[in-house]
Symmetry: C2
Subunit: 199 residues, 2 copies
């Protein structure tokens, strides 16, 4: 720790910057469209320099996903003390911010490209999907027990429905803008009983 502070600018944090740029491309274009040249150009280096840090494109994308998954886990911890409604809203706001920034979550791009991805990357997509859907189901279960949510069916099924709605809404938002996205968010509130309940 203290040794790291001794050379704070010893080297530019290139590895981190590469991950940042790659993550952005994954969310804007997906895996198959971007290239090492795109990343190298933004950093003002040559594509061989990227290969020094990540031997193959697959390695790079897997590294991005590992970081992405760890960040999601940390995020769930930062919101776990909030009321269930606030947690649900916070999650939907994540998707909304993606759309506002002309991106979509990596589950959208990599899910779509799934059949064309290298196997180690497919594995990461599966794991991330598991983590998100599992967290979602637990949230809905707790929220219903506490009386914050009100809905029919299993919490697991409702979690799958809302989580997939968020995926699809990002596709809708990418084409039609933020308005239609927000309309869906509002409707999600209704189906989990966060506003009016019975017809």
């Amino acid at each position: 720790m203290s040794s790291a502070q001794q050379k704070p600018k010893a080297k530019r944090d290139t590895k981190r910057l590469i991950l940042d740029i790659c993550e952005r491309y994954l969310m804007q274009w997906g895996y198959n469209v971007f290239s090492y040249h795109h990343i190298a150009d933004e950093l003002g280096v040559k594509n061989a320099a990227i290969h020094y840090h990540f031997r193959t494109k697959s390695d790079l994308a897997v590294a991005v996903l590992l970081r992405y998954r760890a960040r999601f886990i940390r995020w769930t911890q930062t919101v776990e003390a909030l009321p269930p409604q606030a947690q649900l809203d916070a999650y939907m706001r994540l998707s909304l911010n993606f759309v506002l920034n002309q991106r979509v979550g990596v589950l959208v791009t990599l899910g779509t490209e799934y059949n064309t991805l290298p196997e180690p990357l497919q594995e990461q997509v599966k794991l991330l999907q598991d983590e998100i859907f599992t967290w979602f189901a637990a949230l809905l279960e707790r929220g219903r027990s506490s009386g914050d949510f009100l809905f029919n069916g299993t919490a697991h099924a409702m979690a799958s429905l809302i989580a997939t709605t968020m995926l699809g809404s990002q596709l809708l938002g990418r084409v039609r803008g933020i308005g239609p996205f927000e309309e869906v968010v509002e409707q999600v509130h209704l189906i989990v009983g966060m506003k009016r309940n019975s017809p």
Copy 2:
């Protein structure tokens, strides 16, 4: 018409076959991954032969979308006499069949790739999305009026929620198989009041 019958096998219906194969690739891989070589190989011809029928890749994809849209309109006519619940189920079964065949609807692949598509193709995606969401909203409106559906919020908002759920479920199904997809379909039944209604 009769002149067409005079030479029923005069030429192999290559143009149609190209459209069929391209459509399949669009649903399996999206626009950016497949190439003229992939199509040519399946037909047992060279890629130049495909260029004879469709000058550019963009032209070909647009032609596929025009046919796809026309087919959707015809499909809505074949189901329009059915009860609202049956129409909703028929639509969800379309998505389910995509997943069973290792595909997803073109709105999933082309929506994801939207930012990278040639402009004429973006236009087609927008139009198809319009047609599907508009049809869906009208269906939910009619179904609620007739007492077949029961839900809170506007029909338009509920239509957007269910339509986006179908998009996202195809991504889920692509990764995790048909089970999770069917769980979502069942939950859709619940939120539009097709089974138990009040908590």
